[in-house]
Symmetry: C2
Subunit: 372 residues, 2 copies
């Protein structure tokens, strides 16, 4: 039976459902917020892994799309999105060869560098291929993951400026360690501290080269906070489009912030076994709902008192929070907010796109599995 036209609760499970109205609201809201602050938005596709969704973000006003890996950029370019920023260093000869092939198709492709050896490898292959490439200096503002320390950034920038194959476009300063700090005031302090360091580097760079016009940073957890940094030119948020239980918990930690972005993404799962005391077994386990970032939330209003927990690779359990709680019957379909959207989406091949609870489209998650 074809999915389009069906009520979402009639879909075979487990499956990912995307509420088009909520998605649209999220996209418009972030775009408007960013524009009102005089900034640009370059949303991250690593979250949704879907080029159709990336195109919606571009249509809403985004200046480009971020990809975490070269293989993701390949899929985006293949889908007709030329202006992709690869946000991780492309550091091996093999991977740079893939980047070169892509650069021929997408001359607006951009990436980051965080090490002189990385710059050298890029230059060699660019020279061999007769190509040029725009790059940002990736700054490590406290996460310790990728990026050069701010104190060494100018030295690396000079190395890039000395190259006739690379064009320095600015900096990237993503603070992955800040995004999930629960308390807003703590998150604010940590985020601004890091970005102020980055801003100082950016000002220095701008005095050195006119081509340095991009200061790209931030994520869903600190988006609102970071817009106050005058030097910042664009945001790299990703999860705002779909949301998950992890970000909702943070968004709602302070009443004032609650519900800026709505959970547009949900998972449907079916009760497949009963008779196990105060819990029932559902068909979404580790391989459906990625086990990271807190517990999924049950949305069905008729079951307000159920707690999801993982129950192996293939199953989950819905446990009654208190005695006397009504348990769903065998065959009941439950709707959950997923715990961590990025790796959960990466386990599926398609979104069932709905409007008012009816399936209106099916979108391929074409960047799925692209971890290279």
């Amino acid at each position: 039976m074809k999915p389009v036209g069906r009520n979402k609760f009639e879909l075979d499970t487990p499956c990912l459902v995307l509420d088009l109205d909520l998605l649209d609201e999220n996209l418009q809201k972030m775009q408007a917020t960013v524009v009102a602050a005089g900034k640009a938005l370059r949303p991250h596709a690593k979250t949704h892994k879907c080029s159709l969704l990336a195109k919606m973000q571009l249509a809403a006003g985004a200046v480009g799309i971020c990809a975490a890996k070269v293989s993701e950029a390949e899929a985006l370019v293949h889908a007709g999105i030329p202006n992709v920023l690869v946000t991780g260093p492309v550091a091996t000869a093999e991977k740079i060869a893939r980047l070169m092939a892509l650069l021929r198709k997408a001359p607006f492709l951009m990436t980051v560098v965080d090490h002189p050896a990385n710059v050298e490898l890029l230059e060699q292959q660019l020279a061999g291929a007769g190509l040029n490439l725009d790059v940002l200096v990736d700054l490590d503002i406290g996460h310790g993951r990728t990026g050069v320390a701010p104190g060494k950034a100018m030295e690396l920038a000079e190395r890039v400026l000395a190259s006739d194959r690379l064009r320095l476009r600015g900096i990237q300063a993503y603070a992955g360690n800040v995004q999930h700090i629960p308390r807003y005031s703590d998150r604010r302090a940590a985020s601004l501290k890091g970005l102020k360091q980055a801003a100082a580097v950016f000002r220095q760079l701008q005095t050195r080269a006119e081509s340095c016009t991009i200061f790209s940073a931030s994520g869903t957890g600190s988006a609102k906070i970071d817009l106050v940094i005058p030097e910042l030119t664009e945001l790299q948020a990703g999860s705002y489009a779909l949301m998950d239980a992890e970000y909702l918990a943070i968004e709602c930690a302070d009443g004032s912030e609650c519900a800026d972005y709505q959970p547009a993404l949900t998972m449907l799962t079916t009760v497949v076994s009963v008779g196990h005391g105060r819990q029932v077994t559902v068909d979404a386990g580790l391989k459906a709902l990625y086990k990271d970032g807190g517990h999924p939330r049950v949305l069905n209003p008729e079951f307000p008192n159920l707690h999801y927990d993982w129950f192996g690779d293939e199953y989950g359990k819905l446990c009654a929070r208190s005695r006397g709680t009504l348990l769903p019957e065998l065959g009941t379909v439950l709707e959950l907010v997923v715990s961590h959207c990025d790796p959960t989406i990466n386990q599926f091949d398609r979104f069932f796109v709905t409007r008012d609870g009816k399936v209106v489209d099916v979108w391929t998650i074409d960047l799925r599995g692209r971890s290279q």
Copy 2:
């Protein structure tokens, strides 16, 4: 560049590598162990998600293949494997319709039942389609996930025996809660306790129907233990073929048991960022190495003192365990035993199959993403 013929350390990363000799050794060893005990082997494909590997298991002597979900069974049948047991209850009309379609192509298909309502739904659709189906009664011997309580098993069995569409073939009694108990003696006690309950049910069933010839149970963690149960007819182990850090930790908890099965599956990952103190950043994160079941292990003999930890969706960190530890340089490729093989494999599309460190083949993980 084509992968076949390359040294595995030249592959683009992150990627999954399968050592064909170790795999073959694991397959032969489990098969020989099971046969020596007078039992059969019905390996679980939920672990490796690869029909080519399932065919190797059949060639080694397995009597059939287990699938956790109907969608996995579809892929196995499509690949030419007709004798599949679906080990989870197929409990909704939608899913049973898929099972019916598959049954037309694969008349030896078998599944389990654990509830009278489930039996009724199956019967209705079987009658409508003019088909018959072999089933096992799924027993809950303490896990509380799927299965009927042993005390209610005979009542459910009578319901199946009364059906002219279903043929009762025996029981299934999988104790997922037992497989990872660290201490061998505790694991042994827990496993035998559960299986003795199941054996009592099986003996009763055999007096009721000649068709009841299957008592299917066990997993990699309890395989050796469970073979002493006289009534047991077959094992459902899966992870033994590939192994992971989680099972290795258990296997090696007692010296006597150590290294029954070797890690045939590994992941390759590359250092993509350095200069972050006593750690380096690699390109395998949550979306490559599933974060479950303990930490992956670094195999490279030149780096005996590195500890892997997750560092977000796209990255991992390799941390020096002590001062003065040599850290790998930018671009170095590391080989890791994955933490939990099942969900890790489910994040990839192919295995790079090697012999003596050289790629000899590429196998499609054709059951990947099949969580329905």
